[in-house]
């Protein structure tokens, strides 16, 4: 019995799909959700989301959010979500550089927190995009 996954962002629903496994990055580490998982509500950290069915995999970059598992229904409320193939690598790299620079120049705690979360989001986008590329048919590293 597969997992029914709904990824919903604040502005619009992103994706509804049936998969066999969901791997997500939470604030307490990575979790794998398989069918018949215990009911759970967890806080997500910026990072990769992997959806798998058989040999197929889909990667998304999540900026953070919440994940609920209940009765083989996985609902992800995403602060922002991008599919790996849609990620603009140049933009993500720019974000990462800017965030790193801000982190270096940070003068207050607020600056540090903001810059490091921006950095985490940029890195997660780059990682997801990278995954997509390395699994792509045409390109090789």
């Amino acid at each position: 019995m597969p997992l029914h996954v709904e990824i919903i962002a604040a502005e619009q629903p992103i994706l509804t799909i049936d998969v066999e496994v969901v791997v997500a990055t939470t604030v307490s580490g990575q979790i794998s959700v398989l069918p018949q998982h215990e009911p759970l509500l967890t806080l997500l950290a910026p990072g990769e989301l992997r959806l798998g069915r058989g040999a197929n995999e889909m990667f998304l970059a999540l900026a953070g959010g919440y994940l609920e598992v209940r009765d083989d229904h996985v609902t992800i409320l995403a602060d922002a979500a991008e599919r790996a193939e849609d990620i603009d690598v140049a933009r993500a790299e720019g974000s990462r550089e800017r965030a790193t620079a801000r982190l270096r120049e940070a003068r207050s705690n607020v600056d540090v927190v903001r810059a490091s979360s921006a950095l985490a989001r940029a890195v997660s986008r780059l990682k997801a995009a990278d995954r997509y590329r390395s699994r792509g048919v045409t390109r090789s590293r």
Partner: protein, 303 residues
């Protein structure tokens, strides 16, 4: 009686106006459709979030006891000062929309004030700003140029002002006054309680005898813990509600403008018809006069 030429001038001017109002009506129709889609698209997120907050608040609240406040944004204090978030449009030509919303906000605010609770405003939209200028209410913040299709990034600062004011104790209650989109023809000013958050009660744990208790009643595991989850969810929920009310205000603006421009176009059409009749009358009167002049002139020459 105005001369034929004057009437023609007026007709030209009214025709031009009619062209403009017709165009504005059509533009409003397209924008309305898109704005409505965005309102609908935002609902799954907010209703799911409301459900989750209800779950945590109910479950964690039951464990902790009723006196414990799980999070400052849930705290019901004695109200000594109220914050009103007023949603209006930047542009006019939308009929009675902003006037009605402003009036509802002022009625509410004067009531609070007369009850000994001073009110401060957070205004969204230029029309609201202009409307409040002639009142004594302090303006905490003004937001204009939000745009027709704002993202949450654009609207979050508004929520942040209200949240911070509430957490600082500057206000004990916050409401949103906005034009609720009831239908294309009806936009109703609505007062919506924003803070403190009133968590919806999740379904009770006691199952009715005979009813199969679904795993809904099984405890959700919370990671890392209920309080941390709430500390993230609650401000986000406030942001979402502000975002949604802005989207609805925008949809109401386009709807009201569509109706107002359609009326203006119809009025212009009627006016053109009237002017046309007047022109015809004037033309015939002129012809009649000339005939009389010619014939009386001929008669005077003794034909």
């Amino acid at each position: 009686m105005a001369t034929g030429r004057e009437i023609q001038r007026r007709m030209r001017s009214v025709r031009n106006i009619r062209q403009i109002t017709k165009a504005m009506e059509l533009i409003a129709v397209t924008r309305l459709r898109r704005a409505q889609q965005r309102v609908l698209a935002s609902r799954p997120y907010s209703s799911k979030m409301r459900e989750l907050i209800g779950e945590i608040a109910t479950q964690a609240g039951a464990n902790a006891g009723d006196e414990v406040v799980l999070h400052p944004l849930l705290e019901r204090r004695e109200v000594t000062r109220v914050g009103v978030v007023l949603m209006t449009s930047d542009r006019g030509l939308c009929g009675a929309l902003n006037g009605n919303t402003l009036r509802a906000a002022l009625q509410y605010s004067y009531r609070q004030q007369n009850g000994g609770k001073p009110v401060e405003f957070i205004v969204v939209g230029r029309k609201g700003m202009l409307g409040l200028r002639h009142t004594d209410f302090p303006l905490k913040s003004e937001f204009t140029a939000i745009g027709d299709y704002p993202s949450m990034v654009k609207t979050n600062p508004i929520a942040r002002v209200a949240i911070q004011a509430f957490l600082d104790g500057e206000i004990d209650e916050a409401v949103i006054v906005y034009p609720k989109f009831v239908s294309t023809l009806k936009q109703e000013p609505t007062i919506f309680p924003l803070l403190p958050i009133d968590p919806p009660l999740a379904s009770p744990k006691v199952s009715v005898p005979g009813e199969v208790s679904a795993s809904r009643t099984a405890d959700l595991m919370y990671e890392p813990d209920p309080r941390t989850l709430l500390s993230q969810l609650l401000p986000r929920f406030v942001e979402v509600q502000v975002y949604q009310s802005i989207l609805e205000t925008i949809a109401s603006e386009f709807s009201a403008r569509m109706v107002a421009m359609r009326n203006a176009t119809d009025n212009a059409t009627d006016l053109i018809k009237e002017l046309q009749l007047g022109y015809n009358k004037a033309r015939q009167a002129t012809i009649t006069r000339e005939i009389i002049e010619v014939s009386s002139g001929a008669a005077a020459q003794g034909r």
